[in-house]
């Protein structure tokens, strides 16, 4: 049995050049996660730099017939849950002695969170971003520049997150001895899906305590948007062992790797993908750049097959409508990505709902 499998998903489908680096990363990660000093330093950064814990907000006007709690990771420093992962991986890179960081970004939130930790740690930072995404998420490109990162435009193929990820991996293959690849979601070759899940699990841990304090019970349902799936896997991590809590992921309708995908290999892992019968990757589309990706984390494919989590879709229009309505009813402008999850709330057959508001919408104005 190969390491890093979620059922039949996951694994390491990468050129040989990267395997020793993945081994090194895995052993570095295994040491760090057993080291109280790593956790203490991460906690210190999360609280004094990141702004954790983030609050839970009851959204009574948005969802008057339910008790809907928003887990406010939009209030995290840099404006999205991405910082949970980049802080942890920056500490890991430091332990591994890597001082050059490469990353991919779609909506730009992971790019900004990566540029932020690189500035904080004094690392060199190169972010690959699709040319189309650079245009539609221009404010985040400016932020990355201000933070000292080099943003490299990827102008072939779909010019979105898919090609940006391929180019970041090619950079890593070329500079593997000096560089840490700071992947932004729970995708990629083992051990990345596990590292990102563990670093995002802080969302679910906090939310679990907070909803117990507020309501005296666990939610009926925990819901989050799913592109690569990192905010969802982090939220789910807090409840996956509570069989009474339903787990729901919401994909973009034309990027439904779980809803309409098939098993395949992309970016180093076997998962459920948008691919044709020959295994060639098919274009995804979404108004939300962070969901515009034909793949998804292997653990989500496993949770779907196991029946533990369900996955539905929201259209661009439904997400836009929820985006406006949250702003007008709650005074919170969400990112277009979690607006997909918000769009499904009214349809849910659940009374007490916990939703991960994974990012704020300034970038989408």
């Amino acid at each position: 049995m190969t390491a890093g499998l979620y059922g039949t998903y996951g694994g390491r489908y990468v050129p040989e050049t990267l395997v020793p680096a993945l081994d090194e990363l895995e052993s570095g990660w295994n040491e760090a996660r057993e080291d109280p000093a790593f956790h203490a330093e991460l906690h210190h950064l999360q609280t004094t730099f990141g702004g954790r814990p983030t609050p839970l907000t009851l959204a009574e006007r948005f969802a008057p017939d339910k008790r809907l709690y928003l887990k406010r990771d939009d209030l995290l420093h840099t404006g999205a849950h991405k910082l949970n992962n980049t802080l942890g991986q920056a500490l890991l890179a430091q332990r591994l002695g890597k001082r050059r960081i490469v990353a991919e970004t779609g909506a730009g939130q992971h790019g900004v969170a990566t540029a932020t930790v690189c500035a904080r740690f004094g690392f060199e930072c190169v972010v690959y971003m699709g040319a189309e995404d650079m245009e539609r998420q221009a404010p985040n490109v400016k932020r990355m520049h201000l933070l000292g990162a080099e943003v490299r435009s990827v102008d072939f193929g779909t010019k979105t997150l898919r090609e940006a990820t391929s180019e970041a991996i090619r950079d890593w293959i070329t500079n593997v001895e000096t560089t840490h690849y700071l992947i932004g979601s729970c995708v990629g070759p083992h051990p990345y899906p596990e590292i990102v899940r563990e670093l995002q699990a802080v969302i679910g841990r906090e939310a679990r305590e907070q909803i117990l304090a507020a309501e005296g019970r666990l939610p009926d349902l925990a819901v989050a948007c799913v592109g690569g799936g990192s905010n969802a896997i982090g939220l789910f991590a807090g409840f996956v062992d509570d069989s009474e809590v339903r787990l729901l992921g919401v994909e973009a309708a034309e990027a439904a790797s779980l809803g309409t995908g098939r098993p395949g290999v992309l970016h180093g892992a076997r998962s459920s993908l948008l691919a044709d019968e020959d295994g060639q990757i098919v274009d995804a589309h979404s108004v939300a750049a962070g969901l515009d990706y034909p793949g998804v984390g292997p653990e989500h494919a496993f949770l779907r097959d196991a029946g533990r989590a369900e996955y539905v879709t929201a259209t661009d229009d439904e997400a836009r409508e929820a985006f406006d309505r949250l702003a007008q009813t709650e005074g919170i402008i969400p990112a277009l990505e979690p607006a997909h999850a918000l769009a499904k709330v009214a349809e849910l057959d659940a009374e007490l709902v916990l939703l991960c508001l994974s990012g704020r919408g300034d970038k989408d104005l």
Binding site: E16, T17, I173, T174, E177, A275, D276, I281
Partner: protein
């Protein structure tokens, strides 16, 4: 006699191009089955893959191309591709269909030795591979070992990688199988230098570029390599 391996992307003209490469002195032809997201490839082969896919070179068409090429040349033909195609077609079925179409083994750029270990294929080792991984690759490889000379993607470089000598030394002490060096070798002089160390060379990116100029240009290019690889 050192071996000269020439990579060509599968396409409508590939059978005649392969024939020209063999006339020029190629000992083995690698046939690229294009993948939409080729992580190990630099821009030249990536673009060639995009064009091939736009031409309809899916797995079935690539297997037909392989069979047509087989009718024209006698040298070993080795499909080179990515795991996604085998995953979709079925690993064993892919190997069997390729064999039936005339292939000798296959190369999967993103399938390290520990993934799908039961699939017989030419294994790759890289400058970053440790001795344990080199031993594992040598034990499991099918006929020869593909030495990736650089940490990087496919594509022309200015000189032969300084990492090659050390890699050859480490691999030699682990195995007697033939070692063919590829990635970054494009000129006759680089081919000569690489074959002073290894048992053969693989030329990909430059061959793909020259192949666009047609069979005569490819034949001349391969001949220029051949004179330096002996």
């Amino acid at each position: 006699m050192k071996k000269l391996v020439v990579y060509l992307m599968a396409g409508r003209r590939t059978p005649e191009l392969a024939e020209a490469a063999v006339e020029g002195g190629a000992d083995i032809v690698e046939l690229g089955f294009p993948f939409s997201d080729p992580l190990a490839d630099g821009p030249v082969i990536r673009r060639a893959a995009e064009r091939a896919l736009a031409e309809g070179m899916r797995t079935g068409a690539c297997l037909e191309c392989l069979a047509e090429t087989r009718e024209r040349v006698d040298v070993p033909l080795v499909p080179m591709t990515y795991a996604a195609l085998l995953e979709a077609h079925g690993y064993e079925r892919f190997a069997a269909d390729a064999r039936a179409a005339g292939a000798t083994s296959l190369i999967v750029a993103d399938l390290p030795v520990d993934e799908q270990p039961e699939l017989r294929r030419v294994q790759l080792v890289a400058p970053t591979s440790n001795d344990e991984r080199i031993r594992l690759a040598a034990e499991n490889t099918d006929g020869w070992l593909y030495l990736v000379t650089v940490t990087g993607t496919t594509g022309a470089r200015n000189g032969v990688s300084p990492a090659l000598a050390g890699l050859v030394g480490r691999v030699r002490s682990a195995t007697d199988v033939p070692l063919y060096a590829g990635f970054g070798i494009s000129t006759p002089e680089q081919a000569r230098q690489a074959t002073e160390l290894a048992d053969g060379v693989v030329v990909g990116t430059r061959a793909v570029e020259v192949a666009e100029e047609g069979p005569a240009a490819l034949r001349d290019y391969v001949r220029s390599l051949r004179t330096m690889v002996s």
